[in-house]
């Protein structure tokens, strides 16, 4: 059975990779199997991890869980066209709660923490680093300053303001370039993982 599983996995892996050549029947077959099985798999996972583990097992310990269950039930009312509009209530609750929670998170982590990290001495008695550290601090403070100016929407990017915004977008693009290379390297590990499977588990060429 294990042997059959490995052959099937190799067949589907190569089927998905065949897309690199062009769309074809093998890819369509692999894609359909992948989507169908993963959709079913996630239904099972979500049922046991959410409904069963987070609600059913703890329903007597935490009365607030029934509020969530009630909102979930309201969501299912979409299936009855006449009262389907009630399903908008839980959606409104989710959207509102998400905006509120994330708003605070963004404010604390993306604004306050980063502002604090940007405030640093550049020279003088409080600065004890090397020339390299000074340059690093200058790039960090200047890059953050100009980057923030780029994201001003209510003022036209002209004159000195526009120049600062241009420095900001250049800083962002240089950062993207560095991140691109870094992320590509990490993506390679996905490819290496599948090639390792094909050559080690399926073909047995690697020991």
């Amino acid at each position: 059975m294990d042997h059959f599983g490995i052959w099937l996995a190799a067949f589907l892996t190569l089927g998905i990779y065949s897309f690199l050549y062009r769309d074809n029947a093998w890819y369509k077959l692999s894609e359909s199997i992948f989507i169908g099985i993963s959709a079913g798999y996630w239904v099972v996972i979500l049922f046991w991890d959410n409904f069963y583990a987070k609600f059913w097992l703890q329903r007597q310990d935490d009365p607030m869980l029934w509020v969530g269950a009630a909102l979930g039930f309201l969501m299912l009312l979409r299936l009855i066209p006449k009262i389907g509009w009630i399903a908008r209530w839980p959606l409104a609750f989710i959207d509102g709660a998400t905006a509120g929670l994330w708003g605070m998170n963004f404010l604390a982590s993306n604004i306050m923490v980063q502002t604090k990290a940007t405030i640093m001495p550049l020279m003088g008695p409080a600065f004890s680093g090397s020339i390299g550290d000074l340059l690093s601090n200058l790039v960090l403070v200047g890059g953050t300053f100009c980057g923030l100016i780029y994201f001003f929407f209510s003022k036209e990017h002209k004159g000195a303001f526009g120049n600062a915004a241009r420095v900001g977008i250049w800083t962002i693009m240089i950062t993207f370039g560095a991140m691109f290379g870094y992320t590509v390297m990490s993506r390679m590990s996905l490819l290496i993982g599948r090639i390792d499977f094909l050559f080690r588990d399926w073909l047995g060429l690697l020991k």
Partner: protein, 418 residues
């Protein structure tokens, strides 16, 4: 002969004297050695048999841990007098509820005068006591444990606090930001025209929908792979509303493949409402917004297949994306579609910048709803946010200047307790 005898007697008597002296010497040495052996043993027995217990911890105080969600009590005590001379190995914290036996809830290292009991229940009162533990090695290698205990604390129960006083600074910054936003919303509502600069990616939305209409091909809208509990997905739904309005006006087929059930429900509502708003409710079809799979790469594989088979004229990628971003954008690029992306995921932005025609970077995605709708309220909020950014810029400038001169207080205002 007699002389000889005398000599012999003399010889014997000398031998006897020598033996006697040697015996005395041996006895003396033996007695001295015996004394040397007995004294240390006596001392050791004395020290083992009568070890002293360490001095107990004193002044035990208990209080509900402040600024938390309940379930936690802080216990403090004055260190044992033996702690200063390394006579304490650790402290053991014991807890009792409703007159039951004391049970151990945790240990603190020597020198620590505080313990946080995170296993308390808000519904019960607890009493605590602290044991000072001294562990010394025994004669045969075993460990001898000596303890002494503090008095029992007053009963205490934990409770949740509504406000974390350590985060007052977050409240103040929020209040300033909200003030700016409300101020500009008010000004916008009173008829003042607010300027918003052009955002290329959003300007291109109309062009991209128009292109699909001219070509008679579909528009794909991919709302990312996160659920409705991500603010990027919420922003994406706002942009979807605008795209759906345009698609409804031009009667162009808009397809929204999703990978989360809640996103599907929300997207259906948004598209339906947009079609109704532009007077084309009959153009809306339930299967325009459809679920594929929750699986990240299953979703990517499905969209890739759809793109190469149906060759849409326009593809929008708006929301939270992860490793699938390049797979999607590269396939769309190869198919010749005009692509507009927007995300606040820093690691994915480089891929979208590379493979798409326009990219909304970070906050541009969140500004899109105000930009596209041109509603005074939203434009006012955008202007208010800009003033918030201005305040941050000023804070950075002043902070850097102050820290350069050795004044550190300003940056502490931005410290956030997690």
């Amino acid at each position: 002969m007699r002389r000889i005898e005398i000599r012999n007697n003399s010889f014997l008597s000398r031998v006897n004297i020598t033996i006697l002296a040697f015996s005395l010497l041996l006895l003396t040495v033996a007695s001295v050695t015996a004394q040397d052996e007995i004294d240390p043993v006596t001392e050791l027995i004395d020290s083992v048999v009568t070890p002293a217990n360490p001095a107990p911890p004193t002044d035990i105080t208990v209080k509900d841990t402040p600024n938390d969600a309940g379930g936690s009590i802080t216990i403090r005590w004055a260190l044992s007098a033996d702690d200063a001379t390394n006579g304490i190995s650790k402290y053991r914290i014991m807890r009792q509820s409703n007159g039951s036996e004391f049970t151990q809830v945790g240990e603190a290292t020597a020198g620590a005068g505080e313990y946080l009991d995170g296993q308390a229940s808000d519904e019960h009162e607890f009493n605590y006591k602290v044991l000072a533990i001294s562990e010394i090695p025994g004669e045969s290698g075993e460990t001898i444990v000596l303890t002494s205990e503090s008095v029992v604390s007053e009963p205490i129960s934990s409770s949740a606090q509504w406000f974390d006083s350590r985060r007052v600074n977050v409240l103040v910054v929020t209040a300033i930001l909200v003030f700016f936003i409300l101020w500009f919303i008010q000004r916008a509502k009173s008829g003042e025209k607010l300027f918003i600069r052009k955002i290329a990616g959003l300007e291109a939305v109309d062009e991209a929908v128009g292109r699909a209409t001219e070509m008679g091909k579909k528009i794909f809208y991919v709302p990312g792979i996160n659920d409705m509990d991500n603010v990027q997905t919420i922003a994406s739904m706002t942009i979807l509303g605008r795209v759906a309005e345009l698609a409804g006006q031009y009667d162009t087929w808009l397809e929204v493949p999703v990978c989360r059930s809640l996103v599907m429900v929300t997207a259906k509502e948004v598209v339906k409402e947009a079609y109704t708003k532009v007077g084309r409710p009959d153009s809306y079809h339930e299967d325009q917004v459809h679920y594929l799979t929750d699986d990240q790469f299953g979703y990517a594989a499905a969209i890739d297949g759809m793109v190469v088979r149906e060759k849409p004229a326009t593809i929008f990628y708006m929301g939270a994306f992860f490793a699938e971003s390049l797979i999607l954008a590269e396939t769309g690029n190869a198919s010749g579609a005009i692509q507009i992306a927007g995300t606040a995921m820093p690691a994915q932005l480089p891929f979208f910048v590379t493979a798409c025609d326009y990219t909304l970077i970070g906050e541009e995605l969140f500004a899109a709803s105000a930009y596209l709708s041109k509603e005074p309220k939203l434009l006012g909020s955008l202007k208010g946010q800009d003033y918030g950014k201005g305040a941050i810029l000023i804070a950075i400038l002043i902070g850097v200047l102050l820290e350069t001169f050795g004044i550190w207080e300003l940056s502490q205002i931005f410290s956030v307790i997690e």
